[in-house]
Symmetry: D2
Amino acid sequence: MSRKLRMGMIGGGIGAFIGAVHRIAAGIDGQIELVCGALDIDPERAVQAGKELYLDPARSYRTYDEMFEKESQLPADQRMDFVTIVTPNFVHFDPAKKALEHGFHVVCEKPMTFSTDEALELDRLVKETGLTFALAHTYTGYPMVKQARDMIKAGELGKIRKVVVEYPQGWLSTPLEQTGQQQAAWRTDPKKSGKAGSVGDIGTHAENLAETITGLHVTELSADVTKFVEGRMLDDDANVLLRFENGAKGVLHCSQIAAGEENALNIRVYGEKGGIQWHQHDPNTMYVKWLDKPMEVYRTGNGYMGEAAAAHTRTPAGHPEGYLEAFANIYRGFTKTVQAKISGSKVDPVYSDFPSTHEGVRGMKFIDAVIESGEKNAAWVKLD
Amino acid sequence: MSRKLRMGMIGGGIGAFIGAVHRIAAGIDGQIELVCGALDIDPERAVQAGKELYLDPARSYRTYDEMFEKESQLPADQRMDFVTIVTPNFVHFDPAKKALEHGFHVVCEKPMTFSTDEALELDRLVKETGLTFALAHTYTGYPMVKQARDMIKAGELGKIRKVVVEYPQGWLSTPLEQTGQQQAAWRTDPKKSGKAGSVGDIGTHAENLAETITGLHVTELSADVTKFVEGRMLDDDANVLLRFENGAKGVLHCSQIAAGEENALNIRVYGEKGGIQWHQHDPNTMYVKWLDKPMEVYRTGNGYMGEAAAAHTRTPAGHPEGYLEAFANIYRGFTKTVQAKISGSKVDPVYSDFPSTHEGVRGMKFIDAVIESGEKNAAWVKLD
Amino acid sequence: MSRKLRMGMIGGGIGAFIGAVHRIAAGIDGQIELVCGALDIDPERAVQAGKELYLDPARSYRTYDEMFEKESQLPADQRMDFVTIVTPNFVHFDPAKKALEHGFHVVCEKPMTFSTDEALELDRLVKETGLTFALAHTYTGYPMVKQARDMIKAGELGKIRKVVVEYPQGWLSTPLEQTGQQQAAWRTDPKKSGKAGSVGDIGTHAENLAETITGLHVTELSADVTKFVEGRMLDDDANVLLRFENGAKGVLHCSQIAAGEENALNIRVYGEKGGIQWHQHDPNTMYVKWLDKPMEVYRTGNGYMGEAAAAHTRTPAGHPEGYLEAFANIYRGFTKTVQAKISGSKVDPVYSDFPSTHEGVRGMKFIDAVIESGEKNAAWVKLD
Amino acid sequence: MSRKLRMGMIGGGIGAFIGAVHRIAAGIDGQIELVCGALDIDPERAVQAGKELYLDPARSYRTYDEMFEKESQLPADQRMDFVTIVTPNFVHFDPAKKALEHGFHVVCEKPMTFSTDEALELDRLVKETGLTFALAHTYTGYPMVKQARDMIKAGELGKIRKVVVEYPQGWLSTPLEQTGQQQAAWRTDPKKSGKAGSVGDIGTHAENLAETITGLHVTELSADVTKFVEGRMLDDDANVLLRFENGAKGVLHCSQIAAGEENALNIRVYGEKGGIQWHQHDPNTMYVKWLDKPMEVYRTGNGYMGEAAAAHTRTPAGHPEGYLEAFANIYRGFTKTVQAKISGSKVDPVYSDFPSTHEGVRGMKFIDAVIESGEKNAAWVKLD
């Protein structure tokens, strides 16, 4: 018999967008309860945030160091099971490392770390400790993404030849960071965001989506990286040529200056026998194209969907699920995995496909390669 | 300072579709916890369901009568605040009435009751007791539906002339109820579902959507009601002409035999100056048409959206929200209203627009009128 | 060996929309040349129009009576073969009748006549004379409409149960006819348009589309007919319940006050096994829905398309064809039929499916029934 | 007073796809008549083709050399005015050059020539002779493409930053050329098609569309060019990074192995203030995106459309026009220009925007650059 997991949260206090999203996603299936947090870098604000979230004041900590220390001392049946890290990029590695060292499982925002070395260290730590680590590449939580991945894995499209993956946004078309807008400010600040802007924030999602769906690694890329908005310190646009391990070719482009676009992440994959097309604005639909018969429109919730997609769908066909449910799918896989460890049972493999440190390392290597290629006038750079 | 509300659930045990949906919707905002239930008509199954939902075994009741009795005796700081009723139609009225009589707020599935008289009695009871009652007309929880309603109310489309509202489904194209499928079985059984099949199950959603968005009552209708599948005891299709209080005309059609359709609820409203179009398969989008300028595409999460839509949106533009979030919006309005009553404060009117017994009575009158018109070869029947 | 046909035109002079459309449609396949015309009721304007169309001045007639007389006297190898009638409704019958009496084939605008009696007389005359008569129900010229018809005829959807056909327009949302706009003026004038406004102008297209695609006659209807715009003399909106000969039910609605709509003719047909959906704004696409497999998207120009659709497609898949090509398909069928008569050969049946007087009679009966039902508060009226 | 133009055709005989398309496009507006041709490289087949097109046998020539000679000797009021060249790529230059030298205007298929030198020579000849030359970059004939161009030119989107242009096809996913399919055979044969496969056949359309709409030249590109199908002699896929003269960046990709795609040419352009999106599968629609207001959907035929788009639209809003009408727009511009030269009047500039030798030269330079870059592992190559 399993039990609910106890979650602690680092960051995600008042006004933080992604913290609220994590709490909803974690709560959707009724298997997780928030028990503690170090919700803000400002202790006052942290306490206030704890109140609004109905936290026991004793467990609304001022720092994550304090949280790890105090929680570790609690009896096993009260202690938090895992920590969710929803801070800006430069505060991912340290709390993640400490969490693992204190024996806590981890859910972490992406990009996983500030540097590839850090990513490799987390990867190593996870293997060493046997703890569970989920990385919030939310979009691969969509049931239709799993369907695409499984159809390609089963060879339904034949050998993959071409991939087009895009993540256009328009919200940074103007120097929004200069207005004090918080989301824009840290994302365009190299000290908080790292060496990459759009490439780290959304380019990695595109890369992760492409590698997840095709099951193929990008081995080489050539990137034209641009800062369009005057005064901006990090890239806000990148156009990237991709080469995959099996000889497939691809295009990836991401942008924060594609005026009027929302979060238009989408992918097309073409194989020798057919192609698929998926767009996150309409995530319950996938277009499957064939050489010599009509295009098919796959829709979640229908009987013809595969096992993985079905397992990650909560409503009947025609009742749309969205981003929060995709996010909840990451949490569901993580939760079932941790619950299985606790109860000594085995997790159904259909749930153990959530992104983890492997994907985190890939993302960091992708960032390195794109930025390096960009600096070398789009010279080819290899990803190992 | 508000507190989490404590929810009890009637019905919604193992294998029940809509119970799980209510639990997710109730849980999304972290303001409600499930504390007790009478989860199944079969006591064994009820207990098992309680375990799976981590209920305190002492509060996993065998019947709702027992639940009302026992919960009433608990101290005020433990007792459930409200009950959610997710049983088939014929078990809505009795528990709802008893809940109100015991002082519990109510969330209830639709159609609200078995008969219009029952609906009127609940309406009266709610007024009498001052308790809060939410009816699960989920679709009006979508932010874009609120946007449409507010734009029409503000006169942006001019005087409304024509309404086309549709709810096509295809899942009962075959005699599915004869295979033992549970959802099909009770919905096609007059003893459990009432006098209407498709008209009660989905036609009322269409009616509710049209009246909510336009702010206009249907005053008269003419309905061609059909049982297409041999042996079926209730209607599986209806085509209805509508006349509204302001002289507008309309068409409503609902079907369970529209082969290949999922839950394709959609509406178009035309006024003297413009029109709107909304489809629940793509619920974050609304098309706004004008006499002499380009059609506009409204999308949730953008700055130009109105106050009500914005208040009921949880993610930024381009991160789709769906059915569960719409449902959660019903719960959010209900919760904020109850919390305000508890704390003696006032609820922000932007949240007090959830469907209640008024909408429940309208739905029952609509069912009566459609069925009567159908029996009279589509004669006009008035709704008062 | 066939030869080009020689066309004469009645109406369609300067500024006339539909005349230009007919000339393009007639010319597309290089099988028809315009040789004469009575292009305007005003002789001066008729002459000027003839000049602009490079007509031999001797064959630019002042009246159609003159045209019939003079053309009849020309040698057989110069004489026009057929006449195209593109005048307002009240000037269809007389020239059509005279053309047939003089031995000329006819292409005529719809609705075919002013009254059903006239329609029946033309039908009789065509049978008597053995001449060819094409009625400009353009929309059934679309290849995808033929595909739908053929799939239904072949039983792919099973027995038809439900039809939804719509023709919303918004261009008459205001009293445009009072501004002197010519197209609006005659269409809203009972003396020129007949007893019906929107019902005759576009409702008949919807009726024709539904009957053509399903192969089923409407046997009974109930219509709520409205004049929304103050001062308008003919209906600008109608909502109609349909019953078909096989027991299928349907909804037809047409409107000229659906603000912001262009020519949004569309149809959905549901059978026991599947459904189809087609919209003339995207005419090369048809959605085919199934009970238990993914929806298919049929697209013109592909190898899987049926014989009739393929024969009426001029470009490869992905190169859109539109309204003019659909119109040209009516002319192509007509032309091949007349050429076959001239050369004594047989026309390929794939081309002899253009609308003729049978469809013209159906349209007039439909108008009669809708208007009668409207006047009787939507009482059921039979069509024989 | 203008007169019809007399057209001669080179190539385009029996079974030729593009010849028939040209004849329809030339004929649509009733301003051109086909008077002669050298319709096939095989004299027998040429004669047969002439018969089917109702050509005067005396003017159905065996070779284009004969055609130029004989037509030149005819009286001015019978002689052809212009020649349309619809042969494979390697037979464009010679007849075009000779036509110009004989004083005939020219309509020519694209890519304009086999080499850039030839292109430059034609460009020079056209300037020298003052004759009119139209190049069949059909897609820029769409009214909505003109609308996009004019809105960008007027600064409505602000300074252009990013361009994404795609032309995916799937028809050569298999070695179709090895089956004897004629269209595939010559297009994949370097002797007939030139140094480029997909890049010449469709990549040039994408390049032409991007440069036409933005009014910007590509100054530099980096191309990953691939032959995916075993045994194929020319590229069937290319992914290209673009840099424009004003600092804008872009992505262009074209493919003949994008399985299941038809002719999915599409473009997105983003400026500082907004963006546009157009797809040739739905050519009468353009999405216009803004930083802070709802996306607008422009549709041809509406009153808000600009002058150029309006002038190139033949049907009212909602009656779709397609590829053939876009093609006819090229012919219309060409025709009006030639007619003006003949009558000594001036052509309305709204019609003189058809592609000519300038675009032909740009296309050849684009081919050179892409192929060179591909051979140098996607090194940057400049276009002057």
